[in-house]
Amino acid sequence: MSDLLKYAIELAAVLLLALGIKGLSKVRSARGANQLAAVAMALAVAGLLLNYLSTSGLSLAAWTWIIAGTLVGGVLGAITAQRVPMTSMPETVALFNGCGGMSSLLVALAAALYPAALDATGPVALVSIVVSVFVGSITFTGSIVAMAKLQGWLSTPSWMQSKLRHVVNIALAVAALVGAVEMIRNADSGTGLWLLVVSSSLLGIGVTLPIGGADMPVVISLLNSYSGVAAAAAGFVVGSQLLIVAGAMVGAAGLILTQVMCNGMNRSLISVLFGGALGAGSAAGGGGGEYTNITSCSVEECALTLEAAERVVIVPGYGLAVAQAQHTLREVTRVLETAGIDVAYAIHPVAGRMPGHMNVLLAEADVPYEQLKEMDQINPEFPAADVVLVLGANDVVNPQAKSDPNSPLYGMPVLDVQEARTVFVVKRGMSAGYSGIKNDLFELVNTSMLFGDAKKVLGDLLVELKDLGLGKK
């Protein structure tokens, strides 16, 4: 293969990758853009293989190991992607991301151990290896911890919530730095390398573990940006501009996305990273006891009110997602629709624990697109609604965000559900939401609480509605 062809393929791949990233940020083009990026990746791989085939050739051993790695990684990846439920998207992305980091780490280790074979000698290669090992390790362990926390496999040890963790993390960072310097000063000694690997792996854990589960999407996005940096560093190690550009693009785009996500939930990156679990204390203390004047009601009452309504707005929140109640919800709304009741869904941009998560979940349950209303669109419509059904949402319907300048939520745009005639709030108890603060909505006269797990309550509601004769034509 001529050099020109090789370069042309590389340039084309970068062009397609750039178009892919750009397209992914618009609803219209997102799916095509993702496929385009996949094509670009395949093109880059094909180009690389063809280039080596036409020059030095590939040994049988190389083929064997390539096919082995491809089969294992590819098949596992494909299966995971198909099997994983939509509710576990954050965990899944974290897992994939961690593996990307691990891959960079392993390449850098290979280059550190066998520099001659990979032409990775000289100061530039050495520094790149150090960066790649450091960022790759953090990405790997950080992502895995994030995944485990989201899955509920891990909880934060109490000392991790004290200031002590900052001391530990600083010590780990210093150790990593020592390892890095040792590696650069004395490339042959293995001590520096292992010190770097171990301490940066621990650092990844130490930094991620204290972060509250709800802030995880931001952390994953940040780690995703890191894995781009790790790829760019690996590009310096093996001397590939394609890798550098693609890595740099992902790194920068990930940083922007992280910032956008923080803005959306009224939080700063610094407070996410160093603030620890938000409101861990206040949620327990302040959330429960302070409420007076709570009206609670039964599922029957709710069903009767729904039957009499003409216009119902559903407000799904985090609780709906964890309860995996989207399919039951869809059945309930189907029944309401066949009874001629007008149903709409109010989607707050940060409802749930991951941006856009609600849209994905409801789309999965086959809710028609036209019924999903964005916040700005639905807010003026609340006064015309007879019933609002708040399902496991809390902060996104807290009127304090507009009324109380001292509230931590102040300034965050919220859904004005209190404008509706009747509001039912489905949640398990009186505990607070993500922000850990009290919700004035629950005390309003037109609000009734319907306690219970969202899926269970919706199931009961379905039975009641059918008993009332709805849903049959």
């Binding site: 997102a30 990684g73 939509m86 990979l118």
Partner: protein, 98 residues
């Protein structure tokens, strides 16, 4: 060589910053997942390591494991993103059918 690398690093980063402008929150998750798949471009590095390994088995093994991890990231990432986006794209189509 090193300088050329720095050039592409700088330009690639600037480009990355510019490419993402206003992303609607709906797309944050798929964008994150798609970008994550792209970061699996380290497949190229893993392949290079295997090809250049000669008969150094340790290196072959390291490269192969690295390749596996990278491909897990790439294939899984692109597929899962597509799954998510397929759900979105069903909708505009429906809308037009009305």
């Amino acid at each position: 060589m090193f300088v050329e690398f720095l050039w592409v690093l700088l330009l690639g980063s600037l480009l990355g910053f510019e490419l993402i402008g206003k992303v609607p929150p709906t797309l944050h998750t798929p964008l994150m997942s798609g970008a994550n798949a792209i970061s699996g471009i380290t497949v190229l590095a893993a392949l290079t390591a295997i090809i250049k390994a000669g008969d150094n088995t340790a290196l072959l093994l390291l490269g192969s494991v690295s390749l596996g991890f990278a491909l897990f990231n790439v294939i899984g990432g692109f597929l899962v993103t597509d799954r998510m986006l397929a759900m979105f794209s069903r909708k505009p189509a429906r809308k037009e059918n009305r």
